[in-house]
């Protein structure tokens, strides 16, 4: 297991080391600034950022943006088996199988995706970082135990792990978020551990320890801020994964039992029954998932490339 991530680890270690060697004036500022400058000129990064910002805006301002109540079965009486009304006045994208406005459902669906994505990633990152710091800081048997635990989580393939937890915690949104969060833990744990290990031997850390600065201050004041960049990169990428995994879990029937609530994965799954005469109902939510996941991925990859000195374009 350890060998297989060797390459990535080396890179992250190098990055962390680089960040640690910068004098303590807030942590890695000049690197971040130069990275930011590079990003501003990078069209891919801009595209990713625009998508992400748009997504955030739509999710936050959904009640004002959506033309109708996503649960209101407004045109149900016009729906027939084999026919669903299309775009018309007041319903820019038409309606779904129960006569609810599709555009409003898509807009509100972004809230679900955002919430699930953000919360599960934050939870996973927090737990993973805590574990990683523990392992890196104390070393020795603590390190072994923690990393073995992480390996065990990794030994159950992602979706299966999420399924097990959802089944355990019952069918509700919080179970979904926790399930996805757990699958994110290993990556963050390894990231932080690598960062910790690299910084333990840095000049600053050795000096601080010699001066009697408490280890917790070293960690909080120095290590964490310097690990920020790779964590942000990883968090962005993990968000993309979280959104897709949430869709997959909904497809398998493990999502929100309140089936009326709009959520892109569930909408996609339901649309398969009407694919032959109203494929739009599948294409719209699929596009949303793809575009948002892509946005986060583009942003994350650009950040990674901008912050990684080895990568020359």
């Amino acid at each position: 297991m350890t060998a297989s991530l060797g390459n990535r680890r080396e890179r992250i270690d190098a990055l962390a080391a680089r960040a640690g060697q910068v004098p303590d004036d807030g942590g890695g500022v000049s690197l971040t600034r130069s990275a930011f400058r590079r990003l501003r000129r990078d069209p891919v990064a801009i595209l990713g950022a625009v998508i992400v910002v748009l997504f955030l805006l739509v999710a936050v301002f959904a009640p004002w943006l959506a033309p109708r109540d996503p649960l209101e079965q407004a045109l149900l009486s016009e729906v027939r088996q084999g026919f669903i009304p299309g775009a018309r006045e007041g319903f820019p994208l038409g309606v779904d199988q129960l006569g609810r406005d599709e555009l409003s459902r898509l807009i509100y669906g972004s809230r679900q995706s955002l919430m699930i994505g953000v919360i599960s990633t934050v939870l996973g990152a927090a737990a993973g970082m805590a574990l990683g710091v523990l392992a890196g800081a104390f070393g020795g048997w603590v390190d072994t135990v923690v990393m073995r635990f992480v390996d065990i989580i990794l030994s159950i393939p992602g979706l299966l792990m999420a399924i097990s937890i959802s089944v355990l915690l019952g069918q509700n949104q919080y179970a979904l978020m926790i399930a996805i969060a757990v699958t994110q833990v290993p990556v963050f744990a390894r990231l932080l551990r690598g960062s910790m290990l690299a910084q333990r031997d840095s000049d600053y850390a050795v000096a601080a320890k010699a001066l009697g600065v408490k280890p917790s201050r070293i960690v909080l004041g120095h290590v964490l801020p310097n690990s920020l960049s790779p964590v942000i990169v990883q968090a962005t990428l993990s968000l993309a994964t979280a959104i897709i995994e949430a869709a997959a879990l909904s497809y398998l029937g493990l999502g929100d039992p309140n089936i009326g609530r709009p959520e892109w994965g569930a909408m996609l799954s339901n649309a398969q029954a009407v694919l032959s005469f109203r494929p739009q109902l599948a294409i719209y939510p699929a596009l949303c998932i793809i575009v948002v996941a892509l946005g986060f991925t583009l942003l994350g990859e650009s950040l990674r490339e901008a912050l990684d000195p080895k990568f020359r374009r």
Binding site: S4, R148, L159, L160, A240, I290, A293, E301, K310
Partner: protein, 334 residues
């Protein structure tokens, strides 16, 4: 070399142990407990007491755990609450299908991914390059089940070029020995059965292999780009070696190292993807069995399958580690 292998094997033990504890605890922690899980909602307190007695659930937890591990070592992973058959039997019936599917997906991902990634790197900055990068990004962003559905709609339903579900056409009288349908067809010289089974692997295999394909393209491209700029390549070129030799002896060999390690990691992705792909294609493998178990609340089967699959995954990674050790002597020393 041997010491390296032994060391890796020893590292396996705590992982497997931890896994068994986790899954044991999981089944016990399920709402209603294992008795309720097996008997259903209508179970009376007497039914549950009787079940607990029969299955020794009223004994101390450690004893139960011990028996659980003991049974697992004898390859007894419980009984499906839906069909009443042994989980091991169900697994063995379905695993070969998933293996065939996974092999096809990997062959597809590697066979297309590595050349494509290499090409993208060598033609750095061209349209091939950008298309590959964009394509690989998209490949990871599209939900697998949606892609599977589209593939099926396009190639099986609309165009009718390939079969859209199952592992084999029932009208073909095929003899099954090992449950690896393609292999069985070849062994028994029933060529039409083998060909038919192979056709049934194409669409689900492509759907399943898309994410590994995307990842392999990206890593190959990145890795080749890195290697091409390395000193030893410049040295080789400066020495006047033919471009082809440079390519073969230096670039490809070294670029492939990181690629081969991700392939080990892909197994996990493939198992996850298999659950969704097999469901869409009604492919009788382990993945669709898992999806059915979820829908039917067959927790006993879920637990058994996940445990077996985790073991398989861990062993697969072990094999990859060992092969990596064979390829790269630096690793063995660590």
């Amino acid at each position: 070399m041997l010491r390296f292998i032994v060391r890796r094997l020893v590292q396996l033990v705590p992982i497997l142990l931890g896994l068994s504890v986790l899954l044991f605890a999981w089944l016990r922690a399920l709402p209603g407990g294992p008795a309720q899980a097996a008997l259903g909602e209508r179970a009376t307190p007497e039914d549950i007491a009787r079940y607990n007695e029969v299955f020794g659930l009223d004994q101390p937890v450690l004893v139960q755990y011990g028996k659980f591990v003991g049974r697992a070592l004898q390859l007894d992973f419980g009984t499906s609450s839906r069909t009443g058959r042994a989980v091991t039997t169900e697994f063995l019936e379905r695993f070969p299908g998933t293996v065939e599917l996974t092999i096809f997906a990997m062959v597809f991902a590697i066979g297309v991914g590595i050349p494509l990634g290499y090409l993208a790197a060598r033609k750095h900055g061209s349209w091939i390059d950008s298309t590959s990068v964009i394509g690989s990004l998209l490949g990871v962003a599209i939900p697998v089940f949606f892609l599977a559905y589209l593939l099926r709609l396009a190639f099986a339903v609309e165009l009718g070029w390939l079969p859209g579900s199952g592992r084999q056409d029932v009208r073909i009288d095929a003899t099954h020995i090992s449950n690896f349908y393609v292999l069985d067809g070849l062994l028994t010289r029933e060529w039409d059965a083998a060909w038919d089974a192979l056709q049934h692997l194409v669409l689900p295999g492509i759907a399943l292999g898309t994410i590994p394909l995307a990842i392999i393209v990206r890593i190959t491209r990145a890795s080749v780009l890195e290697v091409v700029n390395e000193d030893y390549v410049r040295t080789a070129n400066a020495k006047g070696l033919a471009a082809k030799t440079v390519r073969q002896r230096h670039i490809i060999r070294n670029a492939l190292l990181p690629v081969s390690t991700t392939i080990g990691l892909q197994t996990g992705l493939l198992l996850s993807g298999a659950v969704l792909t097999e469901t869409v294609f009604a492919f009788g493998g382990v993945g669709s069995a898992l999806a059915d178990a979820i829908a039917n609340r067959d927790y006993a089967l879920l637990q058994g399958f996940i445990l077996i699959l985790a073991i398989v995954y861990v062993v697969a990674n072990l094999l990859v580690d060992i092969s990596y050790g064979l390829l790269d002597p630096r690793v063995r020393v660590r």
